[in-house]
Each structure stands twice: as structure tokens, then as C-alpha cells.
């Protein structure tokens, strides 16, 4: 019970609740000698009760005016879900279709397909905490891990604006992992990387990423939106001279992820349907038991205060008509 009021200054009105203690609020009738009247315990009790009623009525009104409410409460529950960071590629090529062309009426761009399917995905994941990070030449912090699905949707919708520069995946991954710092380890922690290209990661960054993935126990899903004709993540080089990170960044990034030591799954999507399948898989797999906090919104108690006060006022008014007539 965490009670709070909207207007603390209104509580000074509680001083008025002391008034009934000094005054019975009843008409006095003249009596020749009050000592003649015998002591009557019942009367004393009734008068005391009425005074208490008045005190409570005044207090109720004052608390109502002050806006008494119960503050937002949180309750820990156990459900199924995950902490997911969506790491979205904002490089310019995402604005092309899966066929590598500028989008026209019939084909949607990779970014549009990803946006549409991610929007659905977020809708299905009710208990999850979802955060959003983006990267192009540099990483962008977009939305912290949150249960507010509207906020996540707003961030996904904003990727409709034209894409930015190049693909710098290592910095993006670093930022995505940083979302899990200072978060309790419960359920699964996922980085969902959605990209259409890869880039070589330098040695220092590789070291750091390995360390961070292990430290934060993050599982990685990579949805690779493959453009027709471009090298895929499972392609082996035909020529041994091409067997290096510079020529085949996708394959090498995949190899690096495999060697991370943390669970990793890659999907190569060549069409919106394949992308849909990949997202459905993740939706099914990532439902580990998870502690999550359910928020109970702030509850207004002023209505209750007013009701009690109104009831007591009725009582006091009714009792008025039973006063001694003379």
C-alpha cells in the first residue's frame, strides 16, 4: 500500500478534522443546573461516535480534494518470454528489394518487409521486454528494453525514413549487448540481428564481442536478408584466393558468430516468406520461463474517500432530526 496525494498542500485541511473534538455540533438547550442531569454512558458513547463520524467525514473530504491514490505497483510474476534487442541494419541497401532493385509497385523493399514482419512479431510477444538499436556507419541507440509495445512499434515504424550510410556491424552488436547491462538475468536474452550485408570485424572488436557475449549470456539470431546474386552466409568460396574476410564478409561473420561460444542461429532469407518463417521459429523457440514485473497502474482512491464522506454526512444529517426538541 503505497499511498500518495496529488496536492500535498491540501492536506493542511486535515486540521479542520480537529474541530469536532472541541464542539459537539449540536444545539445546546438551557438547563437550570447541569449537575442535576444524571450521567448517561450511552449518550456519551453516541456523542463520541457522532464526533468521530464528523472527524472522518472532514478527513475524507480533505483526502479526496488532495487526490489520494495508490502509486503504481509492480508485482513479480513468472511467465514465458525473453529480453530481446532488435538490431536493425539501416544501411542504404536495405531500401532495395530482395532482387536488388529499387522497390516498385509489386515488390517491397527489404526494409519494408522487415518492418512489416517485425511489427507482427512484436505484437505476438506480449510478455517480452524489447529494445531497439540500429546501426549503419555508427550505432544508434533507439529504444531501451521496455514492455511498452507502442514505443517499440514507433521505433520500428521510424525505420521507414530513408536509410543511412554503410554497414558497421561490430559497433552495432556492441551497443545491442550494452542493453543487457544492469538488467536481471532471467528468461532468455536475445539479440536479433536483421541485416542485408556484413562487414569484416577487426581483431580488437572480435575479442571484445566474444567477451561481452559470454558475460551477458546473450543468444544471437541473425536474419540475413540475402539479395539475389550476392554471396550468402553458407556459401563456400570457389576460389581459395577469395577465402578471406574482405572478399566474403558474410561467411566470415557467420564463422565468427559460430565461434562465439554462445547459442547462435542464422537464417538466410531470400524473400519475405523466408523471413516470416525465421521469425516464426524464433517466436516458438524463445519461450523460456522468465521472471517479469507486471505493473499495476496507479489507483485513484479519491472516489472512495468521497463516498465515505457522503455516507457519513447523510448519517450526521439524519441524526440531526433526532435531537432533543424543546
Amino acid at each position: 500500500m503505497n499511498l500518495a496525494v496529488n496536492n500535498p498542500w491540501a492536506l493542511t485541511g486535515l486540521l479542520l478534522a480537529l474541530l469536532p473534538l472541541f464542539n459537539s455540533g449540536m444545539r445546546t438547550s438551557p438547563a437550570p443546573w447541569t449537575a442535576l442531569i444524571p450521567r448517561d454512558t450511552l449518550s456519551a458513547v453516541v456523542v463520541g461516535c457522532l464526533r468521530l463520524c464528523a472527524v472522518a467525514a472532514i478527513a475524507g473530504l480533505v483526502l479526496g480534494i488532495a487526490g489520494l491514490h495508490r502509486t503504481e505497483q509492480s508485482q513479480e510474476r513468472i511467465g514465458h518470454g525473453a529480453h530481446i534487442v532488435l538490431l536493425l541494419d539501416r544501411s542504404s541497401s536495405m531500401d532495395n528489394t530482395f532482387a536488388g532493385r529499387a522497390p516498385n509497385g509489386s515488390d517491397e523493399s527489404k526494409a519494408t518487409a522487415a518492418r512489416r514482419l517485425l511489427t507482427d512479431f512484436v505484437k505476438q510477444r506480449q510478455n517480452d521486454l524489447i529494445g531497439v538499436a540500429e546501426y549503419s556507419t555508427s550505432p544508434l541507440f533507439v529504444m531501451p528494453l521496455t514492455e511498452n509495445k507502442n514505443a517499440v512499434q514507433a521505433a520500428i515504424a521510424a525505420t521507414a525514413t530513408p536509410a543511412l550510410g554503410f554497414t558497421h556491424v561490430s559497433k552495432g552488436l556492441g551497443m545491442a549487448i550494452s542493453f543487457f547491462e544492469q538488467q536481471p538475468v532471467t528468461g532468455s536474452r536475445i539479440v536479433l540481428l536483421v541485416s542485408d550485408g556484413a562487414a569484416a570485424i577487426d581483431h580488437d572488436s572480435e575479442q571484445k564481442l566474444r567477451e561481452w557475449f559470454k558475460q551477458q549470456q546473450v543468444r544471437l539470431y541473425w536474419i540475413f536478408l540475402r539479395t539475389a546474386g550476392s554471396p550468402g552466409i553458407f556459401d563456400q568460396p570457389e576460389d581459395s584466393r577469395d577465402d578471406n574476410a574482405g572478399a566474403m564478409p558474410e561467411l566470415y561473420l557467420h564463422k565468427f558468430f559460430l565461434g562465439l561460444g554462445s547459442p547462435y542461429q542464422a537464417y538466410e532469407a531470400e524473400s519475405p516468406d523466408a523471413l516470416k518463417q525465421a521469425i516464426a521459429d524464433i517466436n516458438q523457440l524463445e519461450n523460456l520461463p522468465m521472471h517479469y514485473i507486471e505493473r499495476i497502474p496507479k489507483q485513484d482512491l479519491s472516489a472512495a474517500c468521497y463516498s465515505v464522506a457522503a455516507f457519513l454526512l447523510l448519517v450526521l444529517l439524519g441524526v440531526k432530526f433526532f435531537e432533543v426538541k424543546q
Binding site: 464542539n23 455540533g25 440531526k320 432530526f321
Partner: protein, 319 residues
């Protein structure tokens, strides 16, 4: 019964009960309150790192001050207002998220503003006019008002021959340009790849003119002019582009061209005032709680019943 009606206390209680009846019948009133829908686009180019704002007696960077002021402003916006966030660098801006309702998504918006960093820039030039134009085009379909926060420092300075043309968006655009920074020129801090400051940009570190296209000067006045090989002449350009100050006249000119308003950021109060421009507000009908009015009346009436009798205190007032 008659006796009871002759007592003023009965009447007070009766009126108090009536007041409570009114309270339960008409708990709220429809009221028009202004709400806002802003998309803040923050300039994150290097010049925004210049430290010419003061906060708690400490020099802070323009970017830091802008972020801090926006976070404070967020607390002052009425519920149902919406805030979106984007970043500007190079010649365009990007939107991080579309406008979100401020009361339900306060923490999210606040965290996202707090995380804005100059290192998020995806490219390093700064052409504010083009950036503003592309942002206005991007937001054309949205009903959000653009709040473009910048210091007006461009790198390299724009050649007057190649200026952005705002005629397509003028009149449709709604919003403001907010100028950040001081009018005194200050050096721009330089950082290494780990984010540590390694000094300031020197005169030789920055371009002092744009060498794109044709010069805006008369060829006969350019020393060493050659139409094909040296359209800008043979002399190296010099200037004070390594120092930065708020280019207020330039921003005012851009604002006039694009049909936006202009204000300078000095503190929260002045930003709040500037943004409460009635042009940017939409009146929304909200139910406002008016239960306190009848409740206060009932409280006064009830207190009257139990007010101590004055004649008891009379001896105190007699001298």
C-alpha cells in the same frame, strides 16, 4: 422537526449532502487543453560539442545542454502530447522513433534522449539547409511539428550559389528552429577514437570553404583563377571555421525561407515559452476532474457546523 429546521447546522449539513450529490452526478467537465506533437531533430555534428553553456557553474557542451533541457521539458508537457526524436548530421536527418505519448512512454523517451551522442553521427559534414529541407520533406505527411535544434555551424561553409530551395515545402511546414550555442566564437573540442578529448580543432584541421562547383565570386577577382583547373583560385582559403558560434542570422534566414519560427535556446523557461506557440498546439477535449469544487463546498459547510462557538472566546477578546 421544526426545531431541527430552525437550526442552521441542519441546513449546512443538508447543503453539504446536496453538494456531494452534485459531486457524484457531475464528476468531470469537458475542457479544452492545448496538446503538442513535436518531433525533435537534434544536431549531433562536432560543433555541438563546443562548451559554451553553463550548468551548475560548469561549462557544458551544447549537445549536453540541449539534451538536459529537453528531458526537463518532457516533464512539463501535458499528457496526450507526443514527442518523436531524430538526429541530424551530414545533409539529412534520421528518425529514431515516431511521436509517442509522453505520459505513457516517459521513461522510454527520456532514456532515448539521454543516450543521444555525437558519436552516433553516420557522416561528418554538416549542411544545415539541406538537412532541414530533407527533414521537412520526410515529415511532410506527418502531423508532427518539427523542432530543429542546431547551432547553425556548417562544415564546409555553404557556397551561396548552391542553396537549398524551400519553395516546395514552404507553407506546409509547421515547427521551429531552435538555435543552440553562444554568440561568442569558441573552439570545437577534438576527440580520439575512444572518446577522450585530445584538444581542439585548429585552423588547419577544417575546410574554410566549399570547393564544389563554381565559385560565387567574379572570376576576375579570384587570384590564380582557371576555369577548369582552379575555379576557386590558387590561394588557400583561410577563415575562422575552426571556431564556432551560434549563426543566428543564418538560422533566422532559413526559418523565414522555410516558414518556420525561430528562437534561441537559453534556458528551460524560454524554450518552454517558445514551444508553447499556439500555432503548434492542437486543442484536445479532455475530461478534467472538478470533484474538488463541490467537495470543498461540503467541507466548508461541515466545518461551519463544528466551528467553536465564538462567545466562548469572548472573554479573550475583551480587554
Amino acid at each position: 422537526m421544526n426545531k431541527a429546521l430552525k437550526d442552521y447546522r441542519t441546513w449546512c449539513l443538508l447543503l453539504a449532502v446536496l453538494a456531494m450529490l452534485v459531486l457524484f452526478l457531475y464528476p468531470s467537465k469537458q475542457q479544452k487543453t492545448p496538446t503538442y506533437n513535436y518531433t525533435f531533430i537534434i544536431d549531433i555534428t562536432r560543433s555541438m560539442n563546443a562548451t559554451d553553456y553553463q550548468q551548475d557553474n560548469q561549462a557544458v557542451s551544447r549537445l549536453h545542454f540541449v539534451k538536459q533541457t529537453l528531458r526537463e521539458l518532457l516533464q512539463k508537457l501535458p499528457c496526450e502530447s507526443k514527442v518523436g526524436l531524430g538526429l541530424f548530421t551530414e545533409r539529412r536527418s534520421t528518425l529514431l522513433f515516431e511521436p509517442l505519448e509522453v505520459c505513457s512512454a516517459y521513461t522510454e523517451i527520456d532514456t532515448a534522449i539521454g543516450k543521444v551522442d555525437w558519436r552516433m553521427a553516420w557522416a561528418a559534414d554538416s549542411n544545415i539547409a539541406k538537412g532541414l529541407l530533407s527533414t521537412l520533406e520526410m515529415l511532410q505527411k506527418s502531423d508532427s511539428s518539427l523542432i530543429f535544434i542546431t547551432d547553425g555551424q556548417e562544415a564546409p561553409p555553404v557556397n551561396p550559389n548552391y542553396q537549398a530551395d524551400f519553395s516546395a515545402v514552404k507553407g506546409q511546414a509547421k515547427g521551429m528552429i531552435i538555435g543552440a550555442g553562444g554568440l561568442q566564437a569558441v573552439p570545437i573540442p577534438k576527440f580520439d577514437s575512444l572518446g577522450k578529448q585530445t584538444g581542439f580543432y585548429a585552423r588547419d584541421d577544417v575546410p574554410h570553404r566549399s570547393t564544389f562547383g563554381q565559385s560565387n565570386l567574379d572570376p576576375s577577382q579570384i587570384k590564380g583563377y582557371n576555369a577548369r583547373n582552379a575555379p576557386f583560385g590558387s590561394e588557400a582559403a583561410t577563415g575562422n571555421e575552426h571556431l564556432t558560434a551560434l549563426h543566428e542570422t543564418y538560422l533566422e534566414k532559413l526559418a523565414a525561407e522555410s516558414g518556420l519560427a525561430y528562437a534561441r535556446l537559453t534556458d528551460l523557461k524560454n524554450l518552454n515559452q517558445a514551444l508553447q506557440n499556439p500555432k503548434l498546439a492542437t486543442e484536445k477535449v479532455v475530461q478534467s476532474d472538478i470533484r474538488w469544487q463541490p467537495a470543498l463546498l461540503a467541507l466548508l459547510l461541515l466545518s461551519l457546523v463544528y466551528l467553536p462557538k465564538l462567545h466562548k472566546f469572548r472573554p479573550l477578546f475583551r480587554s
